[in-house]
């Protein structure tokens, strides 16, 4: 039972991460390889604010969101003016750069030793000590994040993002600034990743650079792509399935040192196969219109409704 709860907590963290990348890749069409590092920025900021400055969980979370947002903006502003290929390279570079910060700014991050003894969150004297309590916290945050993101996508801004993904020149010709929309989307994505980072830091109570490498970025990308770009169902159900699959591996008699790379090989194979056979992922499809018009006698009724094809 404990294993299941632990799995569920990790799953919710990754659902938030997948959601953060979904806004960027699924809705705006920006491919970033730095999400692992941004996740780390959130985790480290939360960890530092709590261990060094005695912030409580909520304020540390807010701090993490702000710092991750700024880091994302710094990455986005120079590189979003250029083509998608350049941005991918720049995001790889950003990933390497941030990892370098985690490893080498030892005064702040404690280098490869990492930051230990991060306190569990405390609300009005109640410490979220047990795993079950933490699971409740994680699920609440995950639901809030998803509701927030889904509602953002239903707004005019969400429409601009989808249009930017399809054709930037059209967006510009209709009076909207695609570059600004992309920067906002990147910052938004970073802020959400920071929520996952804070949750992670509070649960594991220990952060070190090796959790936030380029392989982590690739893994989050895998989750979003296989789950289905643009699909919220893919972000949730897809992520849970994809995280759960390798757990089945643990039933096989394979040593730990082999299990990790074999799991990655499986994910890699899945990516290849999916891109050939079903590139939209398990649940993916293009995000559908947020507005469906229901005609009445005067043709003035319009309903904003969620419609998403599975």
């Amino acid at each position: 039972m404990e294993i299941v709860i632990g799995f569920a907590i990790i799953a919710s963290i990754y659902v938030i991460l997948a959601a953060s990348l979904n806004i960027l890749m699924g809705y705006t069409g920006i491919f970033s390889m730095a999400q692992g590092a941004i996740f780390g920025v959130g985790a480290y900021t939360a960890a530092i604010l709590q261990t060094q400055f005695n912030f409580n969980f909520i304020f540390a979370l807010i701090g993490a969101i702000i710092v991750a947002g700024i880091a994302s903006a710094i990455m986005a502003i120079p590189s979003l003016g250029v083509s998608g290929d350049y941005f991918v390279v720049a995001s790889f570079g950003m990933q390497m750069l941030l990892f370098s910060f985690f490893m080498n700014l030892t005064d702040i991050t404690n280098g490869s030793a990492g930051i230990q003894r991060i306190p569990r969150p405390e609300f009005f004297g109640f410490v979220v000590g047990s795993d079950i309590a933490y699971l409740i916290l994680s699920v609440v945050l995950t639901v809030l994040v998803l509701l927030f993101l889904i509602s953002v996508t239903k707004t005019g801004f969400g429409r601009v993002l989808r249009a930017v993904k399809e054709d930037e020149s059209v967006v510009m010709s209709l009076g909207k600034d695609p570059k600004r929309a992309k920067i906002v989307a990147t910052v938004l994505s970073g802020c959400v990743a920071a929520v996952a980072g804070s949750l992670y830091a509070g649960y594991v109570t220990y952060v070190n650079p090796n959790s936030f490498t380029v392989h982590e970025s690739v893994f989050i990308t895998t989750l979003v792509i296989l789950g289905g770009l643009g699909s919220w169902k893919g972000v949730t159900v897809g992520t849970i399935i994809l995280l759960g699959l390798p757990e089945l591996l643990k039933l096989l008699p394979i040593s730990d040192s082999h299990a990790a790379p074999i799991r990655q090989v499986l994910y890699g194979l899945l990516m290849i196969v999916f891109m050939i056979v079903r590139p939209q992922g398990i649940f993916g499809a293009t995000p559908k219109s947020s507005i469906q018009v229901i005609p009445d006698e005067k043709n003035t009724a319009a309903v904003i409704g969620e419609e998403e094809k599975a």
Binding site: V152, T155, G156, F157, R159, V160, R162, A163, E166, D167, S169, V170, V171, M172, S173, L174, G175, K176, D177, P178, R180, A181, V184, L188, T286, S289, S290, I291, Q292, V293, P295, N299, T300, A302, I304
Partner: protein, 250 residues
Amino acid sequence: MILQLDSIEKRFGGLQAVKNCTFNVEKGKIIGLIGPNGAGKTTIFNLITGALKSDGGTVHFKGKDVTKLLPHQRVKLGLARSFQDVRALSEMTILENIILACPSKYAESPLLSLFRPDQVRKEEKENIQKSLDILNYVGLKGKENEMAGSLSYAEQKLLIIARLLATEAELLLLDEPTSGLDPTSLARFIELIRDLINKGKTILIVEHNVSLISEIADKIIFLHQGEPIAEGHPKELAKNKDLRNIYFGG
């Protein structure tokens, strides 16, 4: 004068695509831009809208120097264009294509949306209504929820006009809006264009259909090798043999 071009020029590597481009567009009129293929018509459009940066000269819109402004900024001032190849956003519905063009305070700022949800809803409702009205006006009634990608060719051309109307722009740059249309659709289009003028718009239109342009334009500018070489009423230019040779000849 709603639009004033002064000595606009553009070169691509070794090729001088546009040079000595000076002309004015009077408010409320239809001005035609014609010339043989490769004369630089679309390039001039790109220079007017800011999609391309000019190598020299100025563009004044409503008396204001817009030469350094980006395209979306010019649209906000009232200068919008359509594309020769339509460019409908095929993964979005027709209604969404039109709403996208509506000016919106909240469309680019999710933060504002967070703090003023009721204002956002109000603006969205207004824009939906406005877009529906435009959609009906251009003749796409009943197709709101259809994917733009599934429209017929003629319907896509109507979508172009709808989107431009939604931007509330006063000067509309139409890049070959009627190419490939059948006679019925063409007639409908001409009606629409004339109606736009009645609504107070100004139109600058690139066209290959010389008879069409002679019928609707108040003035024609003739472009050759990137340079305006003649300007005047369609009937006068039609009489000019040299122009005819340039256009149809070698």
